[in-house]
Subunit: 415 residues, 2 copies
């Protein structure tokens, strides 16, 4: 099921990526993050123009704004007739500016995985937040209630009775009624088991004086990267049956089910078939990555072409001595995961290994040009979420010019 280089290359061309020439300025200025921030004409918006992304100090994290916008528009168009909304997961970008673009494009809110992410996004001006992980320690519960007190749009997940009581007590202490959703497990990672246990928890929440039940969330992390659309469709709908039954049980019991949220980029066009389902927690669709390209889509079994790779890492060639090999400055600390290979844009036969902490190792048989030390390459990352989490800022580019420097405000916020 590994996509052939032909179809991958075809897609990259269609996406306007493969056609791009690898322009390598020998006089590259190599602007650092600090220098780029200083260049912005407005510190508040981070807008700064006139610098090519090929002149950035590397490794540098970039997002092509045309493609990002194209992905926002594509998701909206694909869901238009389904009645299902998006509540994108901000764990992917950790960036208030991008969350605001998603909300402006019609998303009904954004999700966060951790309370420290929610704090950073709220501090960055994002209010419609749903925290999908339960806060289980007194300090995290207190911090969640502090957000909720200042922000009536904040919703948090709960998955066990003691935690529900703790949340209610903390809400009472904060002088508020806190909005919660039941996290219903798919598999064995987070959430209360579907069925009677989940129903009992929802009923408990409904009776607790300082909590307001808003519905349920249920996310199948394992389903997103199943290769082949038909297999993914069948397995994810089957995995989701207990969640749907739980939704029905809650509804029949007269409980509030206004929110029934879940899914991801890999199942965005599958969850729309789930009765009662309200919104998708899609994350990667804005950026894409090598991992998602490989899963295949509804119309192309080899390559997932519904969204366009917009996120790239710029890297510099450090060593060209060895035939069929190049060494770059982007290794595990620039790309994190090493599977699948990062994709070198514009070169169809390159394999890229980021197994070394500091260096990328390219192997190839044929190349479009003779590479020199100092040349730059542009990479599609193996997996977008942890890669973004390595950088303090992301450069938003248009036609290769940096248009904006966005701080990744929740970078490192794994708490």
């Amino acid at each position: 099921m590994k996509p052939s280089t032909v179809s991958r290359r075809g897609f990259l061309h269609t996406a306007g990526v493969g056609a791009m020439t690898v322009w390598v300025p020998r006089s590259a200025s190599g602007y650092t993050g600090a220098e780029m921030r200083a260049k912005t004409t407005d510190a508040g918006t981070g807008i700064g123009v006139g610098v090519s992304k090929w002149e950035l100090d590397t490794p540098a994290l970039c997002v092509d704004l045309d493609k990002l916008e194209q992905n926002l528009t594509a998701m909206k168009a694909k869901l238009a007739s389904t009645g299902v909304a998006t509540r994108p997961h901000a764990k992917t970008h950790k960036c208030p500016a991008i969350a605001k673009l998603q909300l402006a494009a019609g998303s009904i809110g954004v999700c966060t995985a951790k309370v420290s992410e929610a704090e950073a996004l709220f501090a960055g001006g994002v209010e419609k937040l749903l925290m999908t992980t339960c806060n289980v320690t007194p300090s995290k519960i207190r911090r969640a209630m502090t957000i909720r007190k200042a922000n009536r749009s904040f919703i948090q997940a709960v998955d066990n009775p003691q935690n529900a009581r703790d949340l209610s007590d903390a809400a009472k202490e904060a002088g508020i009624v806190a909005d919660v959703v039941i996290d219903v497990a798919v598999g064995t990672r987070t959430g209360v088991p579907a069925g009677e246990k989940a129903l009992a928890l929802a009923q408990l929440v409904d009776t607790l004086p300082s909590l307001k039940l808003r519905g349920l969330i249920s996310y199948d992390g394992g389903a997103q990267h199943i290769k082949g659309f038909k297999t993914r469709l069948e397995r994810s709908l089957k995995n989701y049956e207990p969640s749907v039954q739980t939704y029905d049980m809650m509804k029949r019991s007269g409980l509030n089910t206004e929110i029934f949220s879940g899914g991801g980029t890999g199942t965005y066009n599958i969850m729309t078939k789930v009765p009662g389902f309200t919104d998708l927690q899609v994350g990667s669709y804005i950026f894409m990555d090598a991992q998602y390209l490989e899963i295949g889509g509804e119309t192309n079994d080899e390559l997932f072409t519904d969204f366009t790779p917009s996120l790239t890492v710029m890297t510099t060639v450090l060593n060209t001595y060895f035939p069929g090999r190049l060494t770059t400055d982007a290794g595990a600390k620039a790309l994190t995961l090493n599977k699948p290979d990062a994709i070198v844009i514009g070169e169809k036969g390159f394999s890229y290994n980021a197994g070394s902490d500091e260096f990328g190792a390219i192997r190839y048989e044929t190349a479009n040009k003779t590479y020199k030390v100092g040349d730059k390459l542009e990479l599609i990352v193996p997996h977008c979420d942890p890669a973004v989490n390595e950088y303090d800022q992301i450069y938003g580019t248009r036609k290769d010019l940096v248009e904006v420097v966005w701080p990744i405000a929740a970078r490192g916020h794994s708490q």
Copy 2:
């Protein structure tokens, strides 16, 4: 060659780790990084006492200071009679405070992998710096010369003739003579091929007016994690033969070879057998990790016990619903690599999967206690370097109390 859980457990007990009870305060305060920084009595040194590491908000990165000091002492003792010094690699800790401890323990300098790391360390008061990667872009070269101008102890690597000329030109422009070492390749990653090409480069450097040749570095990244001491010894000495010949050629040609540096934690007691070798670029010995534990040592073929695991990540149990499984809050964004498994201290039969970005997935058959949601666990990370690079600060603890909060000043400095 996978170490048995028995021998691993035996070692962890000997190291005083396995004997530790997993104390789980239900009233855990969950102090955040900002709260901990505010608690320090001296902002300059980051010293703050009175908080147990079990009360930190998680995931939290900790280093046991007794064990860190034990590792510094152990390395010094093991090398005492060899005539070989240490020039530890700061890419591992990215922390000026730890670099200073290494220098205080007798190291002759520290290494950095990237110029942005060198800048952060120098800004943090560390002067004896050797940058092991070549700076190949005009901006990085300029930045390296800026460091060198302010810091006479700064040495940088060079591995090709054009780069040597560029460095000389930049040094001249900065009004200095810059110290350089030839990076001689082992394998095909970085460096000039050993032998004639390396000699010619050294001779060129020797003739360039604004460069001062200090010797050579040669690092075998692939050798460090070869399992089994005998295999590692044989292969790394064989791989190193061309580097030794290059050293001899340089010496016979009357070139300066006062520095002949390389090696790492996995070969620290192998490189000492290399004629002329001056200093070891050891990194992980201060922290250790699951990956290094598995390589085996000279006296224990199953487990590398020469240094003690001092680096840990504190994590919280989020979900206990599913028999034989626990979910924690430390996934790929808290630990990066997922191979080998993180080690749960105090539990011998736990497997820990950090394949999920946000969550750790533990599987077990037997456990020492019944875990509850909110309980905390302490983990030895799969691979220390990229894990440290996820955190803005590291808590230095002694007998489980936080003694110091050190900023990881070069975190994210992959440029």
